[in-house]
Amino acid sequence: MPLLEIKNLHVEIDGKKILNGLDLTVNAGEVHAIMGPNGSGKSTLAYVLAGKADYEVTQGEVLFNGENVLEMDPDERAAKGVFLAFQYPIEIPGVATMTFLRTALNAQRKHRGEPELNTPEFMKRVRETAGKLSINTEMLRRAVNVGFSGGEKKRNEILQMALLEPRLAVLDETDSGLDIDALKIVADGVNRLRSPERASIVITHYQRLLDYIVPDIVHVLSKGRIVKTGGKELALELEAGGYAQFQEAPVAAE
């Protein structure tokens, strides 16, 4: 059974069609890259997988481990192992990063019937995880993402991902606006999660990140559907020739 199976997914927001019959199958152990121009539906796909409310699924299904995730609340999806690294991580004034991380980790553990971590156990886990990713723990003493630089926000996303150990990580343009050091941390976070049980979907605009996270499969998304699928070399073709070569002509009937 594939880890993720998306069949004929149609999604609208405010009556505007964004995804038009998207199919995608991701098996455990694979890293997929989804590339595409602005407005092709990349972020919509990421949000629909995570369960954001504003998106209306008008057709199709999304199975995660054989279960219909479209019926699940965002927190339930997360507890089942779906993780979205946000393109624009949000600032949450007044909520301490450590409180947030601990609440998230323990909520997921509780949902899965695992014992919650006490404070010393949790602290140890955070320090170890941050250490492996060379993330400075000073950042964790502040409120969630408040006053963080763009790079720090993205690093915080990767730290959360590493801590929560999802079965499916979806990275929504996590590389945008990052310098090379931060990019390496992001790549390192994804590469460390690689295992026969897990999978990642790396959504990106540029080939650059894929130098560090070498994908097994690359898809081109255009006008809400996948128009081309290939190996890692497809990313290089895109880099050389642009997206236009893969864009479909508009379908008159639609």
């Binding site: 369960g51 927190d75 004034p93 007044g94 409180t99 998230a104 909520a107 929560l164």
Partner: protein
Amino acid sequence: MAEVTLIKNPAEQQLTAEWQEAKARLPGPARLREAAFERFAATGLPHRRVEEWKYTDLRVLMREAKPLAPRPDADVFARLKDAGAALGDLDARRIVIADGYLAPGWTDQNSHDPGMAIMELFAWLAESPLYVDRLSQNVTDDVAIALNTAFMTGGAVIHVRKDASNAQPIHLAHIFSGKTAAATYPRSVVIVEPGARLMLIESFEGPDGVDYQVNTALQIFAGEGAHVDHVKVTREGDKALHISSLMADVGAHARFNTFLFTTGGAVTRNQLFLRFGGEETIASIRGATLLNGKQHADTTMVVDHAAVGCQSREVFKTVLDDQSRGIFQGKIIVQPGAQKTDAKMASHALMLSEEAETDNKPELEIYADDVQCGHGATAGDLDEDLLFYLRARGIPRAEAEALLIQAFVGDAIEGIEHAGLREALMEAVQAWLKAR
């Protein structure tokens, strides 16, 4: 003059009857009481056409006036000795005031601190006839205060001199003892001499299911260079009516911080009258109110900048669930000549229910031309994008909401200097959230 007959509602009639019955036996300053009662009799209970009480119509909200609570006997005082202790370990000198009467034996708690005197209200008044003047000093003609003055049953007088050790906060722990409804009228006076420092905590609590009434008043006189921290925690029983009047007169170069924390009570009215009597004083007036069910809470504040170069900061946060109603009225007056006044007032409401209501009325009356004054008010529900971010990490909706609500009120609570109190109030917020 035309004869005007005021039609009295049952509560007003009961108050009048109570006065006739009780005035001869009430201790202390009879003339002051008489004048205060006359002030009430002239206008009756404040109602919606009285601007200051526009949103808290006592003629409607106070259908009847409960009988004056009698002095509790020794057994009751003994039973209530732990009043206020549930607030947490505050390392404070705790003085119990039950049903408006200072608990006997409070002298046992008196310190060996020669710079601080704590007395019972009427014992203090008996010491010098001059002290009666204090009771009418800086008192507005507000009717709730007039009723408190007419019926006051007792309270504490705290006098702090500069040489006090200030080692411990003072905690006036008010409690209503009864199983049947009654009205209580505690009155306390705090005198902080020039250069002296005091941290004062007031707490109010009582049983659920009893529609008792509290009309409390506190006068604070802070001298030049004094530093006063005041925190009031109002957690009355769910049927209680609570009216509180804080009158503070603050001298030059002083610091005055007050925080009003309200979760309990069916109807709560927190009135605050602050007068800057001397230059270059800094005041912070903040509060957090959490309401649910049909609770009604009104914070009404008048900050009178009567001196040059004073700074005031007002920040109030209200969380409203179910059909509750939260009111904030804030008036800042800048008197002629009070140049270089710097006053900023903000009131924020977080609406957790479609049926909740919030009313905000900021007023600025400025009679000086070189001042900085501003106010802001917001009302809104929880941010769905923030909730989604938290939920996308596996945090269930209720917990995610709790985190955001804590953050909202925590922003105001954080500014309390006393760490134990800060923690106690955050725990109270968590308890409120757990009960949602």
